[in-house]
Symmetry: C2
Subunit: 384 residues, 2 copies
């Protein structure tokens, strides 16, 4: 029988946002000491970690300082200097998911190629190094332009319906995709251990806010036939095996109007679409991620209650210190769990928190979630 000391491990997290914060809580529950790297002092995760290293995600020295202090290092964001991570990995430091995988995922072209090479259906795409008006016209409108590098939370993606939208065109190496007629956007969380054992969460349904292409309402489980849910889960497992992932991964998919299931992209970390697992599942995605990167057995991913989840975004025009409106009204609704991330400044559409609602059915939970959205707002001290 293995004997573990206390702390169980020193866990490093690059990125001190809400994902890192929720990871930190779970890692502490399991008896870890947690160290966080983030450029902003008192980041959401740094404020509850043992220590925060203040530094940028591109700074090799700051990354080295964190990694050398820890037994295992992971991350809650994708925009990290992967060369620095690869150097540290070559020196024998444990960094999971692997830096090579992260570098691949960072490049949307390489990510698509890796999945397609394993026969996994992805949204059809074409490489476009120079997105000139001529190149776009040659591909044909309407189209979706995605930057190969640097996109997140709906940024780095442009819908161009015709030449009249050229002003929204993004500069830089891109992929061009056909506009898909989407029936549902689905997501599946997959957790894969160091021993390649996997657990898969239910397929969930994501409804997006057209304002910022941000997740607006999540329904768990998705309101789709069982056969389709099973297909989504199998495809998600295949995708994470294909990239040899270790940790929790969000696999975003489109279910098209003509019945196809296509992978949109994968996130090498706990994912916004998995926040619901904290309240609604046997084991949360955050605990599973920590277990996976530490080489511990994974837990059950069974769902114990239907639920819905909404993000709390900074209101348009909001700036400065955040204020909450309608918290009493929201908390008075049975089954509501409010998560405030502790960010000191609000910005328009910034993720400031989320709300999970449990109920006897996903429809009832969604109804309550919409009531919460109608009453609970995060505004800034300078907002109108």
């Amino acid at each position: 029988m293995r004997r573990s000391g206390y702390p169980l491990a020193r866990l490093g997290i690059i990125g001190g946002g809400q994902l890192g914060r929720m990871m930190t809580l779970q890692a502490k529950k399991l008896g870890c000491h947690v160290f966080v790297l983030d450029p902003y002092p008192h980041s959401p995760a740094g404020a509850i970690a043992m220590e925060q290293v203040v530094g940028g995600f591109g700074d090799p020295q700051a990354i080295r300082t964190l990694v050398e202090r820890c037994d295992v290092t992971t991350y809650d964001i994708e925009h990290i200097n992967t060369r620095a991570l690869q150097e540290l990995e070559a020196e024998g430091h444990v960094i999971l998911p692997a830096p090579g995988l992260l570098a691949m995922v960072q490049d949307k072209l390489r990510q698509k190629e890796a999945l397609a090479a394993q026969g996994i259906p992805v949204v059809p795409y074409e490489q476009c190094d120079h997105p000139t008006p001529e190149a776009l016209a040659a591909f044909g409108y309407p189209l979706v332009q995605k930057l190969r590098h640097g996109g997140y939370d709906g940024k780095g993606v442009a819908l161009l319906r015709g030449p009249e939208d050229l002003r929204q065109k993004l500069p830089g190496e891109s992929l061009l995709e056909r506009v898909i007629d989407i029936a549902e956007e689905l997501s599946v969380m997959v957790v894969r251990g160091r021993d390649t054992h996997m657990v898969v969460y239910p397929a969930v349904e994501m409804v997006f806010d057209p304002r910022g292409n941000l997740l607006d309402l999540l329904l768990a489980p998705a309101r789709i036939p069982e056969a389709l849910a099973r297909q989504a889960r199998e495809m998600a497992e295949a995708a994470i095996s294909a990239v040899d992932g270790v940790g929790a991964f969000g696999v975003e998919m489109f279910h098209t109007a003509n019945g196809q299931l296509l992978i949109n992209e994968i996130a090498p970390r706990p994912h916004n679409s998995g926040h619901y697992t904290i309240e609604a599942c046997m084991t949360s995605q955050f605990e599973q991620h920590v277990r996976a990167v530490l080489g511990l057995p994974l837990g059950s991913a069974a769902q114990i209650s239907p639920c819905a989840m909404i993000n709390l975004l900074g209101e348009p025009g909001s700036k400065g210190k955040p204020h909450l409106e309608g918290l009493d009204e929201a908390l008075a609704i049975p089954g509501v769990s409010v998560h405030i991330y502790g960010k000191a400044e609000v910005r328009p559409l910034r993720k400031m928190g989320h709300v999970t609602v449990l109920d006897d059915s996903v429809e009832a939970a969604a109804e309550k979630a919409k009531r919460v959205r109608a009453c609970l707002r995060i505004v800034g001290e300078f907002s109108g």
Copy 2:
């Protein structure tokens, strides 16, 4: 509509143990800043709070420092200088549950009298200021002696079967009770808001470890008839109304072999028998406590999965830095959630963590909990 700033409130917690730690996590989730008072630096709660005031629970100046820094102050232990709290309350500081209530609960005689005065059935008792052999003999053996002041976690209680047990007799003002023939020990968590609104959790069943009179196995819900469970919940509500409590309260009861339901004692804080609510209920006892003392609406106390819970106690003879044995084996059991409190030193029978197990039935969860207890041990570096 009320507008709340960020932080939502500065919450003070007197006591930095595991209860304070789990309260802190929930308070942070709701957007509070948390300040903790504890004599040991880096206490379990202090390590994740915004700041810890290092000082004793009897020290009026340390208590003042904490309370003056906070909007609302609460506590996770009972042995606090209530005179200091009452002075601060008289100056207008919000301290909940009320210091007067705490002073009453600290004295087991006054607690019993307060409940009995409202017609709430308690274990029959007799006041005994001087527990001399003659006084004990006059009461008659077998008997249970309880100190009026200072008991906790099974300390301050002695079972005296006859004069041959006089060596176990405790010094000090006492209560004497008849030995009850107990069918089940039950507990009910009640949460009462500032507006006197109450929510009540299911009645749960406690099995005790005879080694230290510490909770050994908790089953939720209790395996008792529905009518008895309802009676227990109603009696718990009546008890907390009787003492005008605000916050989460543990109400411990005996169900006697001849069918009576008697209150043993109440704890003016989240309780060991309510840890299971983190995973198994809509809203945890810790979040409810925070909501109650801040004057926020209470959440649903509905249970969403049957479960069992065990404490992780330091092994007999254990000292020094803790080590975990069998963590991999425990985590490999589906539905297991391990909570390590982060205490730097292990002592025999010290509460070092707990494990909650969810399953489809309380019997299946209890079976798994026993498997966890068989494999997971916390030993000290100096233990045999």
